[in-house]
């Protein structure tokens, strides 16, 4: 079974929007070494997005390019989950989101490396190495902040409280996933197990019975996405058809 165009776009959009968010830290990080680290992760994510958009562009045909897909689609056409478009927040929010998302990506790409769609499998295999490092880096930060000082602990707890509502969407199946032979519900238990280990070290608990927000996969986004795209796409929109 081949993956559908919408599914590839979903993977690409997730990576691009989170890459765009993390890049906001560049030049503004808490310490030089970590400024460089978060920029590296952002670069990896933009690289992932490009691989997926390039594949999607080929599926679409008619001379479509990666940039057409990233720069000329509107809010309603983006298929990323709500989690990745939320503002970068403080260092606690950024690292916790990275941890939750990268842990999900890790499980997903492990599966996708054996997907029938060879191209998708190949991209996933390359990407997985990067994701493994993101999980390592972000889990260490979650532990550091949970265990560190009173302030860091209260910040990671408040980040967790505000972010948790966006985690359920990762495991809510969407038609483009089902049509591509991906069962995301299967990943949830493993994901919870996985994050539990780091949470235990950080001495924090995952919230329970939280209402889970969704809509991103269907193109119903939070208000944040419109601003991200307005900024990101403005040159392509203002000067249509140019080479850059």
């Amino acid at each position: 079974m081949k993956a559908t165009l919408d599914y590839i776009l979903h993977l690409a959009d997730n990576a691009l929007i989170l890459g765009q968010r993390n890049a906001e830290w560049c030049g503004h990080g808490p310490v030089l070494e970590q400024d460089i680290a978060i920029s590296n992760i952002s670069l990896d994510l933009i690289g992932q997005a490009r691989s997926f958009y390039q594949y999607a562009a080929e599926l679409k045909g008619n001379g479509t390019t990666e940039d057409d897909l990233a720069y000329l689609r509107d809010e309603r056409q983006f298929r990323n989950i709500l989690l990745v478009e939320q503002p970068k927040g403080d260092w606690a929010f950024t690292t916790l989101r990275q941890f939750l998302f990268s842990s999900y990506q890790q499980l997903l790409f492990q599966k996708l490396t054996t997907h029938d769609d060879e191209r998708l499998a190949a991209i996933s295999e390359k990407t997985l190495k990067e994701v493994n490092y993101h999980v390592r880096w972000s889990s260490e930060w979650v532990i550091r902040l949970g265990d560190g000082t009173e302030e860091s602990r209260s910040r990671i707890l408040s980040a967790l409280a505000s972010i948790w509502t966006y985690t359920g969407e990762m495991f809510m199946p969407e038609s483009f996933e089902t049509a591509s032979g991906i069962v995301v519900t299967d990943l949830e238990t493993a994901w919870k197990e996985k994050i539990k280990t780091s949470f235990a070290e950080a001495n924090i608990d995952a919230p329970e019975n939280t209402f889970m927000r969704s809509g991103g996969k269907k193109g119903i986004h939070s208000e944040h996405l419109g601003f991200i795209l307005a900024e990101m796409q403005y040159l392509q929109r203002s000067y249509p058809g140019c080479e850059w």
Binding site: G27, I46, A70, T149
Partner: protein, 315 residues
């Protein structure tokens, strides 16, 4: 050995082109000059991330976005190499950074100019990094070992910066009318500030003589500036653009290009803090540092706790 003997030995070492290393005896003034220059240089890399970083979110293609992010990240790396070199002289990074935030330490004035359009990003790469490279290539031979080694590493990476800048302008120069206008406008705005990057004229530079004798600097401000002008006059032709100086012309006698007078009043105003973005740049750096304080503390606290637990387990 008396201080006089030590000083003589020190100067002989430098004259013999032997590098000075961190633990060697050095005159106070040599240490101070190096601390001042290396930290200024480090601050310039870090503050320099801001004007270009502004455009990461707006880069017009995914390729350009990745290139720009990698480039600005490199500047962070360069700042880090230089802060490290500075630390070998006995000042901690925190002290050095505090000097920047309190206004005691300077950084290159060029970063107090705004990046207004996308073409500014290419132009900064071409002209600003180009001017910086002239200085940096010279500094790979500077007399203080750790500084020279940091510069070797930086120069290797910096040539990518200048090339990507020029290439991005090349694309604009072959593009639409609007893109060409954008390109020329950016060159017009950045040309003179780029020339100012080489500092005051030799006749007015207070630090030059001693720095030359100690081989911290190896070429004068005016020599480097002339070299830069000669290079850019040729390169701008490839872009089909012009440099905004009616007095630019080849001088058969000197075998160099003559150029017009720099607006030194503007130069000193920007140095004194009255440039278009002085306030914003410093505020952005302070904000990042202050908002990062709890993160740095938390990481240190966690490491200490972890160590304590490991010690307790071992006991």
């Amino acid at each position: 050995m008396s201080v006089h003997d030590l000083e003589k030995h020190f100067q002989d070492t430098i004259d013999a082109e032997i590098k000075i290393e961190p633990l060697d005896w050095m005159p106070d003034a040599y240490r101070k000059t190096n601390i001042r220059q290396i930290s200024q240089h480090a601050h310039s890399e870090i503050v320099g991330m801001l004007p270009e970083g502004n455009w990461i979110s707006r880069a017009p293609s995914l390729k350009r976005k990745a290139i720009l992010l990698a480039k600005v990240q490199d500047e962070a790396g360069h700042g880090l190499y230089l802060y490290s070199a500075c630390e070998t002289l006995g000042t901690s990074r925190e002290e050095t950074i505090n000097d920047l935030h309190s206004g005691r330490a300077k950084y290159s004035s060029i970063f107090n100019y705004p990046t207004l359009t996308w073409a500014d990003i290419g132009t900064v790469g071409w002209l600003v990094d180009g001017a910086a490279i002239m200085n940096q290539v010279m500094l790979t031979r500077t007399s203080y070992g750790p500084y020279a080694r940091a510069m070797v590493r930086i120069c290797k990476e910096e040539s990518f910066h200048q090339r990507q800048g020029f290439e991005s302008l090349l694309v604009l120069s072959k593009g639409s009318e609007a893109q060409r206008t954008m390109c020329q406008d950016a060159i017009n705005r950045w040309w003179w500030p780029a020339l100012m990057m080489f500092g005051p004229r030799d006749s007015e530079s207070t630090n030059s003589d001693q720095s030359m004798k100690w081989k911290i600097k190896r070429k004068t401000n005016d020599e480097l500036r002339q070299q830069f002008v000669d290079m850019c006059v040729e390169q701008v032709k490839l872009l089909g653009m012009t440099l905004p100086d009616p007095n630019l012309k080849w001088n058969e006698e000197t075998k160099h290009y003559d150029f017009g007078e720099i607006d030194w009043n503007e130069f000193w105003q920007v140095v004194k803090g009255n440039g278009p973005c002085n306030l914003e740049r410093l505020q952005a750096r302070k904000k990042a540092w202050e908002e990062g304080a709890w993160v740095r503390e938390a990481a240190a606290a966690h490491a200490a706790k972890k160590q304590k637990r490991a010690d307790a387990n071992a006991a």
